[in-house]
Structures are given as C-alpha cells and as structure tokens.
Subunit: 230 residues, 2 copies
DNA sequence: GTCTATAGCTTGATAGAC
DNA sequence: GTCTATCAAGCTATAGAC
C-alpha cells in the first residue's frame, strides 16, 4: 500500500479495466455510497438494510448487488473511498516534523499530523462528517466484516508509533502503542459527535463544535503523551 | 436516582412486587442475560437475533418475550444489571478525594475514581469483561435504543465534571466537559479489548493486559487534564 | 447494464394448549 | 408461568426479460 500524493484513485472494485462507467451510472454509484455512508454511521452495518439504502438513494434494490457485489462490498467501498485521502494528508504532516525541534512542539505536531486532517475534512462536507462518525464507531468494534477498517489504517498506526519512537526514544513499546491508542480514542471522541457534551451542559457546549473540541483535544493528548513518557 | 451503597437492587423490570420468581426461573433469567451480554458486546444489538441468544443460552425462543418483554427489554436489562454496581464504587472513591491535597495527586485520584472500578470488575469475571466491551461500543453510538446508556451514566458524568471544577476551578465549562469526555474515551479504549495493540506489535503487547494498559492510561489522562487546564 | 419480480430464508413476536 | 407451533413482515440475493 502506497501513500504518495497521487495514489488515491477513485474507488474501483474490480480488477479489470473498465473503460468508462457512464456518467449517469457514476452519479448513481456516488449517491449510493453517500447514502450508505450516512446510514451505516447512524445505525451500524447490521442496523441498515439494502432496501433502506436504495430507497433513500432513489435507486433500485438490485443496484447494490449489480454495482458492489452485495451489501458487504458496498460497505467496503464506503470505507475505502475516503481512507486514503486522510492518510496522504497525515503522512505529509508527519514528514514535515523536524526531529530537532523542542519536544513539546514536536509532540504537538505529531498529534496534529494525525488529527488536523480529520478536522479539515469535518469542515469540508457533511459526507465527511458522516464518514468520521462511521470510523469512530468502528474503532470500538472487533467483529467480522468491520475489521477491514484495521487493514486500511494499520500502515498509519505503524508509522505514527515508529515516529513517536524517534521523538521520545526512552518510551517502551507498550507506552508508544498506548500513546497512539489513546490519541486515536480522543480524536474519535471529538468527531463521533454523539451529543454527549450537549446533554451534559444543557447545550451550552456542543459536540458539533469540532474546532474548539479539537483544540482542547490536541492540548490534552500532547500533555498526556509527554506525561506518560516522563 | 440514588447511589448509596445498598441501592443496587437486582434487576426487576416490572413495577409490581413479584413475590418470588422461582429459583429455577431466576437461573434461566441470568443465563439469558449473560448470553445476551456476550453476544451484544461481540456483534452489536442489530447483529444478534433473539434466536441466537435463546439457543446459546439453552432457553426457548419465547422466553425473551415472556421474561423481558422483547429484545429491547432484554437489552435494557443487560445494561442496567451492572451499571449501578460500577457507579457506587466510583462515587465512594470520588467522595474520598481530599480537595486539600496537591493537584497532581488529586487529579490522579479523580481519574482512578472513574477507572479503577472498571479495572477491578474486568479482573473479576468474563461476564464483566463482556459488559465493559459492550459499554465501550455503545460510547461511540448515538442511535435510538442504545442511547439509554446515557441515562444510566449521566449522573456519573455530572458529578465527575462538577468535582473537576472543585479541583481545578479555573477551567471553563468546555474544558471540564472535554476532560471528562477524553477520560471516558481513553478508559473505554483500554477495556474494549479489540486486539489493536496485538495486531500492531505482533502480540508483543496485548489489549487484554488491562492492568498495564490501565496504568499507562491513568498517567496519560492525569497529565492530559492538567496540561489542558494549564 | 438496467430493471422487475420473486425466491428462499430469517426475523421478532404471539396465539393458544397445558 | 411454560412451551410449541406458527405468523406476517422483512431480509439479501438472484433469475431472467429487455
């Protein structure tokens, strides 16, 4: 798996070179992906039927099987469509960190390399926000179909863990993995947008205020990593 | 809702005073709760059928409706059965924190008041470990049925947020809520036990080593809270 | 490729005997 | 309360006309 800037090709499920999938068909495909993304994020894989998706996408029941090979194939394409775009941004930021700079700044940059690409996308479109909620949901899952998310994000995890080893070489393997694990958990908590903050504060603080919550998250995680390492 | 030590009554769904539900029936009830807990944690509410549960519990299909009023009632009872036990332990620890002690120790005690009760239970039985994985999973959810978890844990959240205001009075409302939110996220990450650490380390580090991961988590969160507040 | 119709199965819930 | 048998609805996937 490569993550060079140009490596995020539009999703193509089959290996045969389809010459041109017809613009109208392509639009229908995107509508199905968008609708599935939203519904999977809201109700989970098993909480959504192919009928729900095709009806709300204004499509036909059989389209999911014709275009994606079934419900599971549709789910996989939903995940894959946006994963690479995030990861390219992350690696660009990770590579820009200077190992020579002071530890607090470097660790903060390490956190932001992971999370700022999420924040940018969250501000970009509602589709991205649905995607981030879906990813957050999958991060607390371990069963069957949904584990393919791990395959999409394992290379990211390994590079971030390795990079943390460069910044703070005295951390042991468990500390580095825990640091990454807790960073992911906090980042997902920001973008899962589950109204928890609203409920607890009578809507004085909102889960949907990603910018403010993200800023606090970066401070929290950076200090957490440094403190755990000390 | 009260959380005095004796307030965790065995789960009784109806409001009428059932005199004695027969010991054999009670055992069957517990077996259904245990099995449902395990399967819901593994596959989610929608990923499990009533048939799955009753078959694996050695029970009859109709028992779920007869004893719990349906699948949803069973789910609610699974959640409620153990929630109060955790929260009683938490409040006992929270009340034992001396506001006079130095900040780092007090904040660490605040984190442990939340998380040590989870650790103790995780070491107690497999049933508890299933329960914790279920709770972790629900923490990244916001749809319908599953939101009742929020009702179970809102009083806890409010008291922890308020107590943090006593310890670090200069934090604003958003910072206190974010601190609690990130603590929950990190604690859930420890107990979700999703093999993520094992995968990334070739099993050199294990998600199931709750004690070691919890210890790092407490350090991480305590420093994160203090750092965010600074 | 597009689309209708439907097969074949599983779902949650219940009726009704005991 | 316990238990069997069954219902009506919904499910994913596909066959086959165009």
């Amino acid at each position: 798996m490569s993550f060079s800037p140009g490596s995020c090709s539009p999703v193509v499920s089959d290996t045969t070179a389809t010459p041109s999938p017809s613009p109208k068909a392509q639009a229908a495909r995107e509508r199905l992906l968008d609708t599935a993304e939203r519904l999977f994020a809201e109700h989970g894989f098993n909480g959504v039927s192919v009928r729900d998706i095709t009806q709300q996408a204004g499509s036909r029941l059989a389209d999911v099987n014709d275009h994606f090979g079934g419900k599971e194939g549709l789910f996989k394409d939903v995940i894959a469509r946006r994963a690479c775009l995030i990861n390219v941004d992350r690696f660009a930021r990770l590579d820009a960190i200077l190992v020579g700079q002071p530890k607090p700044e470097a660790v903060r940059a390490w956190v932001e390399a992971f999370s700022v690409p999420l924040l940018m996308r969250a501000q970009e479109s509602e589709g991205w926000r649905h995607y981030l909620r879906l990813i957050a949901r999958l991060s607390t899952t371990r069963s069957g179909v949904l584990m393919l998310v791990a395959d999409q994000f394992n290379p990211v995890a390994l590079r971030f863990v390795a990079h943390l080893g460069l910044l703070l070489p005295h951390m042991d393997a468990r500390q580095r993995l825990n640091a990454y694990q807790f960073m992911v958990a906090c980042a997902m908590a920001v973008f899962v947008d589950n109204f928890r903050l609203d409920t607890l504060s009578d809507s004085a603080v909102r889960s949907s205020d990603f910018e403010a919550n993200h800023a606090n998250m970066v401070r929290f995680v950076a200090h957490g990593v440094l403190g755990m390492a000390a």
